[in-house]
Amino acid sequence: MLRDITIGQYYQAKSPIHALDPRVKLVGTMVFLISLFIGRNVIMYAVATAFLAAVIKVSKVPFKFMVRGLKSIVFIAVFSAVFNLFLTEGTPIVQFGIFKLTWEGIEMAAFMVIRLIYLIIGSSLMTLTTTPNDLTDGLEKGLGFLNKIKVPVHEIAMMMSIALRFIPILIEETDKIMKAQIARGADFEHGNIIQRAKAMIPILVPLFVSAFRRANELATAMEARCYHGGEGRTKMRPLRYKAKDVKAYLILAAYLVLMIAIKMLRNGALV
C-alpha cells in the first residue's frame, strides 16, 4: 500500500561520486541538463551518452536502479514521441489524412525521448548518490547567495529536511488511521468517485490534526534546544571543497566546453 512510496531514495555505496561535495553534484546535474538542451546532433549525444555511462560506472549504482525511475515517465515519453512523430514539418514518408510521418519527425522524436530518459537518469543519479541531508546542506550552502535578496535559504533547507524526516512517520500514521477506520466499518474500496472522496474524510481529518500537533510539539522542542534560525549557527559537517571536488569541477567544465565546441563546429550541419 502506502509503504511502497520511496522518496529521495539513496543507494549506499563507497564510490568517488558518493564522496563528492553535494554542491558539485548539483552543479554537475545542471551542467548535464544544459548540455542536453544546447544542441541536437548525433555526436553531441554520443559524447553525452559516454559521459553519463562513465559516471554511472564510477558511481557503483546498479543500472536497474536508474531504470526504475523511468517507469514514471513512460507515458510522457510516449506522448511526446507520438506528438513529434506526426506533427513535425518535413519530407513525408507516409501520410494518413492530416497526419504525416516525416524523417524530421522520427529524428525529433528520437532525440526527444533520449533527452527525457537522460534527464531522469541524470537527476536520479544525483539523488541515488547523495543523502537527503547532504542534498539540503548543498542547497543551503550552494544557494546561500540568495540570502542577499532576502530569500530565507536556511529556513527552506530546514523545512525540506524536516519534511524528509516526517514523511515516513506520517505514512505509517496514515496506515494506522486507515486500519482504525476500517475496524469501524469504513469502506474505501467501493462506491463512485464522490463516495470514495467522502470516505477519505475520516482519514484526512485525523491526519491533519496529528500533523499539526506534531509540528507544534516539534517547534517547541526546537525552541527549547536554542534554535533561532540560521544566524550564528555552526555545522557539525560544514561543507568544504576538497581536491577531488576541484577535479570534478574541471572535468565538468571540460565536458561543457567540448559540447559547446562540437555545437559550434557542426552548426548548421544537422540543426
Partner: protein, 284 residues
C-alpha cells in the same frame, strides 16, 4: 460461539529480503464472555495477532474460524467479522474526526447500515457504557481531556455492539486515576454485558487485577496461555523474555525466602494482604 486460531503464521514483507516471521504457529480458542490479558514485549507479535482477529491482516498460513465459520472462505463477509470483533487501536483518540463526540460515535453504527434512530440509540448507550458525562456528548474532541477522548474513542467501537472487544494498550500515557477509570469501566462493561475482552497491556499489575486468563507472546510464539496465577508462577521465564510478574508476587517470594510462611502465588495487593494476615494470625 468462539474465535478459533489454528496454527496461524504471519510473515511480513515476503520476498523483500527483510522478512519477519511475526506469528509462528499460533493456536488458541477465545470463548465468548472471556476476559483475557495479552502480554509480551514490543515486537513480540501481540499487535499482529489482534489484527488477525478482525481480519485486518490475513494470515500467511493457518486457519481462523469465527462462530464456526471459516473467515478466509471466498464467500465470507469480512464486514460481518468486523462488526462482531471490535478493535480499539493504541491512542484511539487520534482517530476522532467529527466536530463533536456524539457524531463521531455514530460513525461505526452508521457504516453498519442501521436506521438513523438505531444509530443514535447505540451511540447514547455506548457513551453511557464508558461513563462519559452527558454534557460532553456535543463537545468538540479538542475540548476534552486525554482520558475523556480515549473513552469517547472506545465508545465509537462499542456502538457497533461487538461480541468481542480488543483493546491495544488502552491506558498508555494516562495518569493513574485515568488508567483506573478506563480499566474499571471495561471490567464493568464485561460484567454487565457479557462482552469478551482482550486487553493488551504492559502493566502486569493491571493485568493481574482485571483479567481471568493471560496469553503471553514472545518472538511470534504463544508461550503461555493460562490463569494469571499460574502464568505469574513462571516469573523467572517471564523475566527471560523481558516481562515480569506483579511486584507483590516478588514481595511474597522475598518473604518466603526470608523465612516467612506465606504463599507465593498472590498476584494482587488484596491477596497478599489477606495471606500475610492469615500467616500472622496463625502464629499469634
Amino acid at each position: 460461539m468462539s474465535i478459533i486460531l489454528d496454527k496461524v503464521n504471519y510473515v511480513y514483507e515476503i520476498g523483500s529480503g527483510f522478512e519477519k516471521h511475526a506469528l509462528k504457529d499460533v493456536s488458541c480458542v477465545i470463548e465468548k464472555g472471556e476476559f483475557i490479558g495479552l502480554i509480551g514485549h514490543t515486537g513480540s507479535g501481540k499487535s499482529t495477532l489482534i489484527q488477525h482477529l478482525n481480519g485486518i491482516i490475513k494470515a500467511t498460513s493457518g486457519n481462523i474460524f469465527f462462530d464456526g465459520e471459516y473467515i478466509y472462505d471466498k464467500d465470507y463477509d469480512m464486514r460481518k467479522l468486523r462488526n462482531k470483533v471490535g478493535l480499539v487501536f493504541q491512542y484511539p483518540e487520534h482517530q476522532l474526526f467529527e466536530t463533536d463526540i456524539f457524531k463521531d460515535v455514530c460513525f461505526g453504527p452508521r457504516n453498519q447500515g442501521l436506521p438513523e434512530k438505531e444509530v443514535q440509540l447505540r451511540a447514547f448507550q455506548a457513551l453511557r457504557l464508558v461513563g462519559l458525562e452527558e454534557n460532553l456528548y456535543y463537545q468538540s474532541p479538542f475540548d476534552l481531556s486525554g482520558g475523556q477522548k480515549r473513552r469517547a474513542a472506545i465508545a465509537g467501537v462499542l456502538a457497533m455492539k461487538p461480541d468481542y472487544l480488543i483493546l491495544d494498550e488502552p491506558t498508555a500515557g494516562l495518569d493513574p486515576k485515568g488508567r483506573d477509570e478506563i480499566l474499571g469501566h471495561i471490567r464493568k462493561l464485561h460484567d454487565e454485558t457479557g462482552i469478551a475482552v482482550i486487553l493488551v497491556s504492559h502493566s502486569m499489575e493491571d493485568v493481574a487485577r482485571y483479567v481471568d486468563r493471560i496469553m503471553v507472546m514472545n518472538d511470534g510464539e504463544l508461550i503461555f496461555d493460562d490463569k494469571p496465577r499460574n502464568v505469574f508462577a513462571h516469573y523467572r521465564e517471564l523475566e527471560s523474555v523481558g516481562l515480569a510478574a506483579p511486584d507483590v508476587t516478588y514481595i511474597m517470594n522475598d518473604l518466603k525466602r526470608a523465612g516467612f510462611a506465606v504463599d507465593t502465588d498472590a498476584i494482587t495487593v488484596e491477596e497478599a494482604r489477606d495471606n500475610i494476615l492469615k500467616m500472622l494470625n496463625g502464629k499469634g
